[in-house]
Symmetry: C2
Subunit: 433 residues, 2 copies
């Protein structure tokens, strides 16, 4: 493989994998261009808190250019990539512009996997980016407003029913946060209905919640959620979702205008546009070196990558972080003419929070729950956030939430059409679709 | 006038006037319904800081229902009012629902006055609500991204030209904040162009900036802006605005995709729908008691009200605050069978900030500028904000901006279509049109 005299590595994607790759390359002083259709890195594990009015979008977003201030050899370009031309070593963008690369790291992340279930795509809310989180927050707040003036009992019940599909960390944390909203915010804000009128249902097709956790913690998470008043329905498949309800495989129907889809993850659509071979859920097939087969200059990392022999790796932040760093390390090895290393995942454990003082943690063989797990969760998430300002503001908001039991960020901003034109719209539409 | 056995006052509008009226009525334990198409009160004087990435929308928004937690006799309804039926004493909403009232305070606020200038409505950004501020912020950040890849010199110059029309407090503060953005953020974020390539033009039709201020402070504000590199063009009328430029009355043309309209204020459109007599700029004509003539149970307060004999009152927060309280006080007097009082404005002074350590203040006969005025501005705005959490987060953000010279909130969120589809769109569209 010939050494480029002036390599320019392109890292596509500003998620965990892309961010880590860019940092590794920037610190090694390799000329790098970072490309994403958004101008920021988003700390996705806290999206559900944005969706439940606990944090602001900017609290968990960090501008890409801020990250690059200390990496003078890295530049950023806001662009939406629509294809690749591996022969000419360049990417195509929506503007017709070409982005040449000497080496490419694809880290375009994931999107919702709907498994072909009718309505899963068009009649649900999701939690894959900040726009999703904002849409869900505005919808929940608007739905509560609609319920205050709704006189038909069955329609009010449907308005106040929230169904979360998927019992992984996102589903569990969202259900827990909604339960806290019901317990602490609803009684203070809404006199027209009882908090108990609000119903939160968590549906999971598998036999248990939080499959990556040890059995004792899975059971604990379920007990904690049920103690919070969440209806947990495991072993239950969803057959269809419409703007007015969720149909279960057994034939049961839950009337609701709020179905939150957290059931699975597939590669974001851009992965298919690149023209490289894909496997399960549209993910790019890569060698253990994270290289695309037959494309020694192209790597993939994070949710988009399906590593040969390691297909069962979970699609979580830790895997993306380690793969992003590994892909960058292998690019550096190529540039130095060294042999490439195979990716090895080091499992650092799993954490999920259910609500105030309730969480589950499985870290380095230790399994614990309750308040200690919750504090560990808080500290680790604060430390993992990027940027001192973000950490400070998140800390202020968390302290505020903790001491007041409140969710302060309840202004409905950025949903002008839905709120202003007609309250009836929200009732009729149900979903954002 | 007959006393209602169970009066229900309706306050329409959640701005300064509506908020103060609701608080006064709530503390007097009069059953009140607060109605607005948005579910929050917004602290409009800091909108320009949201627009320039210094604050988040939720920092200056406060949920209406939070305000009512301490006012058990007041309820809130999210509704868009489309008309009034004064004979039946009720309002009509978009959903067809009627809202009956025993007494009504109309405080629906202002919107942009375009004076019939072509393009002023459709080809500009405005700063009248949080959606406006978010749209302008996203546009400015997107424009800077477009400029990094624009190779045509004249097009790049147009992208980097920002024209503010109107030399009142909003125009001056926005121009100053953009100048700070150019000075402190651009050199750190954008290597593809020099900060000096960014051009900020403030156009004012009248002979001077900040007309309500004493002459020495008007001159000082102009000097400070010019020292910051803002081109100040007083005595200059705008004849037409298009997505690609601003035409001046003399025939000159400034190529730009960013025209910010801060030239005037008129009543928000809903005022016309109510069917009461309107005067200049669509404002409701009211007696000095703030009553609509011939409608003893209907009052108007704030930007929407044009008080007989006091037509020259400025449309600022202080007038709205005092009128909102006065309207509520007169409603209480009606309920108690007492005579009504005429509104008298107590001028508490004027403040405007130009940038870091630069502001002008005219308070109770004192005229001062520079650092002391800036500190007074900071403290007064912090104190006037509602909600401890908001004050704390604003303080954190201001301290961050002050010590780092940074604007941290530069993620483009909530403009998915503009950013994701096509960078070219922003160039072609220019305005939010």
């Amino acid at each position: 493989m010939a050494l480029d005299p002036a390599p320019r590595v392109v890292v596509l994607g500003a998620g965990f994998a892309g961010l880590r790759a860019v940092r590794r390359l920037g610190h090694a002083r390799v000329a790098t261009l970072w490309v994403d259709a958004r101008n920021y890195h988003c700390f996705l594990p806290l999206l559900y808190q944005v969706a439940t009015a606990g944090l602001e979008p900017q609290d968990i977003a960090y501008p890409a250019r801020s990250i690059l201030r200390r990496l003078p050899v890295v530049d950023f370009q806001l662009a939406r990539v629509v294809g690749a031309d591996p022969g000419a070593q360049r990417l195509r963008t929506t503007t017709g512009e070409h982005i040449p690369y000497s080496h490419l790291i694809v880290a375009t992340g994931g999107a919702a996997e709907d498994f072909g279930i009718p309505g899963a795509r068009d009649a649900t809310f999701r939690l894959y980016d900040l726009e999703d989180a904002r849409a869900l927050r505005n919808h929940v707040l608007r739905i509560c407003e609609c319920a205050t003036t709704e006189v038909r009992a069955t329609e009010r019940a449907a308005l106040l029913t929230f169904v979360i599909v998927g019992g992984g960390a996102t589903g569990v944390e969202t259900a827990g946060a909604l339960a806290e909203f019901r317990r602490h915010v609803v009684p203070r804000d809404y006199r027209a209905f009882e908090a108990s009128a609000m119903r939160i249902v968590l549906v999971e097709a598998g036999p248990e919640l939080l499959p990556p956790f040890p059995p004792v913690l899975r059971a604990r998470a379920r007990r904690d959620l049920e103690a919070f008043g969440v209806e947990v329905r495991t072993g239950t498949r969803v057959s269809r979702i419409t703007p007015v309800g969720v149909e279960l495989a057994g034939g049961a129907h839950i009337p609701t205008h709020t179905a939150i889809w957290a059931a699975g993850i597939r590669a974001a659509p851009v992965a298919a546009d690149l023209g490289f071979p894909t496997g399960r859920s549209g993910r790019l097939l890569v060698e253990p070196t994270l290289q695309i087969p037959g494309q020694p200059r192209v790597f993939a990392a994070g949710d988009v990558a399906l590593v040969a022999g390691q297909e069962r790796l979970p699609q979580v932040a830790q895997v993306a972080i380690q793969q992003g760093e590994h892909a960058a390390e292998n690019v550096l090895r190529v540039l130095r003419g060294e042999g490439l290393l195979d990716f090895q995942y080091r499992d650092k454990g799993a954490l999920a929070t259910i609500g105030r003082s309730r969480a589950v943690a499985a870290i380095r063989g230790l399994e614990f729950a309750g308040r200690p797990a919750w504090w560990v969760w808080l500290v680790i998430h604060l430390v993992m956030l990027i940027g001192f300002r973000n950490r400070l503001v998140v800390l202020v908001n968390w302290a505020w939430n903790y001491f007041t039991y409140d969710r302060g960020l309840r202004a409905i901003v950025g949903a002008e059409h839905e709120t202003s034109e007609d309250g009836e719209q929200a009732r009729a539409a149900g979903g954002p679709g």
